[in-house]
């Protein structure tokens, strides 16, 4: 059981507000990991730190053994860590297809000048759109899509980058039950194909149904971890949620 993403004593404060208070976490490679906890427990800050979006005040961040704490976000993405955003972010004035193609990394200057709609990539992109069931929207601008469609599109974009590890920030946020199931099964499938997942989610049914390993955050640090069965019965977790 190798570790995928690992942090040691991660700290981050905004002004006076402490968001991460010495978080030491390790996620398992090849598994579906979940990161849960009440609002403001520092989950999203954690994501932003490990993906380089914001710089932690102190602490180590390693991915598969190599230190990524000082790396730029794009470098971390290229190292194989893809992420979605809590309130999903797509490129509003670009077509769905371009949204996905934007994740293609041009090989050097020559590659950069290659046509964006290179046959092979377009096929791959359409492949992902098809797999997420939004192929018919390929030429529609993202801003003209529904919320759910935008979430799927964002995921398609991330997957286009062929990340080995995918960080999902509230994939179930504001989507209808039908879509919820689809996302659930999709995650399992992709995991079966060898992708590691780290999921921040409030929907307990989803978390319990899809994750192998759960880490519970409270006040910027983990208070419990283990398989769903264990977490379900952990009163510290209940305490954290119910504020007892």
């Amino acid at each position: 059981m190798t570790t995928s993403l690992e942090t040691t004593d991660l700290r981050k404060a905004f002004g006076g507000v402490v968001a991460l208070d010495g978080a030491t976490v390790s996620f398992r490679h090849g598994q579906v990991n979940a990161l849960i906890g009440p609002n403001g427990s520092g989950k999203t800050t954690f994501f932003n730190c490990v993906t380089g979006m914001i710089r932690a005040d102190s602490g180590r961040i390693t991915y598969r053994g190599s230190d990524i704490a000082r790396k730029a976000p794009h470098a971390i993405a290229r190292a194989g860590v893809g992420r979605t955003f809590q309130l999903c972010r797509v490129f509003p004035r670009m077509s769905a297809l371009d949204n996905v193609l934007a994740a293609v990394r041009p090989g050097g200057l020559a590659g950069g000048l290659r046509g964006a709609r290179h046959r092979a990539e377009v096929d791959r992109a359409r492949g992902w759109l098809t797999r997420l069931g939004i192929e018919h929207l390929a030429e529609i601008e993202a801003r003209n899509m529904s919320w759910g469609q935008q979430k799927l599109l964002e995921l398609a974009g991330v997957l286009m980058g062929e990340p080995e590890t995918v960080l999902l920030d509230e994939p179930a946020g504001g989507v209808n039950p039908a879509l919820l199931d689809r996302i659930g099964t999709l995650v399992r499938e992709l995991n079966a194909e060898g992708r590691t997942f780290v999921i921040v989610e409030h929907n307990m049914d989803l978390v319990m149904s899809i994750s192998d390993h759960i880490v519970v955050f409270d006040r910027g640090r983990p208070i419990a971890e283990g398989p769903p069965a264990l977490i379900r019965t952990d009163e510290r977790v209940l305490g954290a949620y119910l504020g007892v």
């Binding site: 999203t44 730029a72 290229r78 955003f85 972010r89 934007a102």
Partner: protein, 345 residues
């Protein structure tokens, strides 16, 4: 496949433009009209060059006037001091300005938006100071005379030649813009314009991208400025390094529409004529400034995508009302998202 037809139409547009450009000198009834035409085409080149940064990345530069002035002075000095042939000097000057754009970009692009604008304005002001003060080298306020590349030509002929040179440069700039527009690099740049963090998280090295395109833009701007210097013949810091020039470029590109190839060109035609009109209209009062300001304000407030796209979407709204309504919703959603997103970063 719609974007095939788009390419075809772009091609058609270019052909028609070429035809217009080639026939203009012979249509122009007198040298003045020809020179006025040169000014407009020069604006078109500058606006298109500006649009490499403004259009692709959404970073607004008010300092491109200075880059043009720099190109002009560099060309002039290479001719007068280093004794290079005019057009060799022009090329070298463009390279020099491009090189200078690297450190400027390093300072301006590392952090987001506001700093870039501030640097772009500061660039104009500091260059003005330097070129004024360093009179021993630049001629300072006494001005710098640029030797004519074609001493033999009479003025009208001279205009004709330069009209073609400017048109050629315009074609070159349009071609380069079109190439980037359809490339992976261009897609990455547009992603930056749409959402820089998101682009970064997808693995786009946004800083490098912004820097490269800024340098390209600077090079083309310098070419336009240098060519202008060769045509105009007299350089003076106060006229070469003016924020107003920069703002005209922004107005042109914005008005025409920064997202499409011909936007800045169209903008240059509209604004070029508008400026003449204002001047005639408001005679010897500075109201032409007010008019320019009002125009810029209106564009920013009501059609940030430019007139042509605005007209386009207007028609479309009539055609598909229901899609229009969806747009409203998701647009406001996006807005809300961005606001909430800020909290977390």
């Amino acid at each position: 496949m719609p974007n095939v037809s788009k390419r075809v139409l772009t091609g058609v547009g270019l052909v028609l433009l070429a035809a217009a450009a080639i026939s203009f000198p012979s249509l122009a009834p007198n040298p003045y009209i020809l020179s006025a035409g040169i000014v407009v085409v020069n604006y078109a080149v500058l606006a298109t060059s500006w649009n490499f940064v403004g259009g692709f990345t959404g970073y607004i530069s008010l300092g491109h006037g200075a880059l043009a002035g720099l190109g002009g002075y560099a060309t002039a000095l290479l001719v007068t001091k280093a004794g290079l042939p005019s057009f060799v000097a022009l090329a070298v000057a463009a390279l020099l300005v491009a090189a200078l754009a690297v450190p400027i970009g390093l300072a301006a692009l590392r952090v987001r938006g506001a700093s870039f604008v501030i640097v772009s304005i500061a660039l104009v002001l500091i260059l003005l100071l330097v070129f004024q003060s360093w009179a021993s080298f630049t001629g300072g306020s006494r001005g710098l005379v640029v030797p004519r590349p074609f001493p033999g030509l009479l003025r009208p002929e001279h205009h004709r030649v330069f009209f073609y040179l400017f048109s050629g440069l315009l074609a070159l700039a349009l071609l380069a813009w079109w190439l980037i527009d359809r490339s992976r690099f261009g897609l990455g740049l547009k992603a930056i314009r749409e959402d820089e963090d998101k682009a970064e998280s997808l693995g786009t090295p946004t800083f490098a991208y912004k820097l490269i395109v800024f340098v390209v833009s600077a090079a083309f701007t310098a070419l336009a400025g240098g060519l202008y210097a060769l045509w105009f013949g007299d350089l003076d810091p106060v006229f070469q390094f003016s924020i107003l020039t920069g703002s005209y470029l922004v107005l042109m590109a914005l008005l025409g529409g920064v997202r499409n190839l011909f936007g800045p060109l169209a903008g240059a035609l509209i604004v070029g004529i508008a400026l003449e009109y204002f001047k005639g209209q408001f005679g010897n009062t500075p109201l032409h400034l007010v008019a320019t300001g009002v125009l810029l304000g209106l564009v920013v407030m009501f059609m940030p995508d430019g007139v042509l796209p605005a007209l386009g979407s207007l028609v479309q709204r009539f055609r598909k009302a229901e899609q229009g309504s969806i747009r409203e919703v998701s647009a406001s959603e996006l807005l809300a998202q961005r606001k909430r997103e800020e909290v977390r970063q």
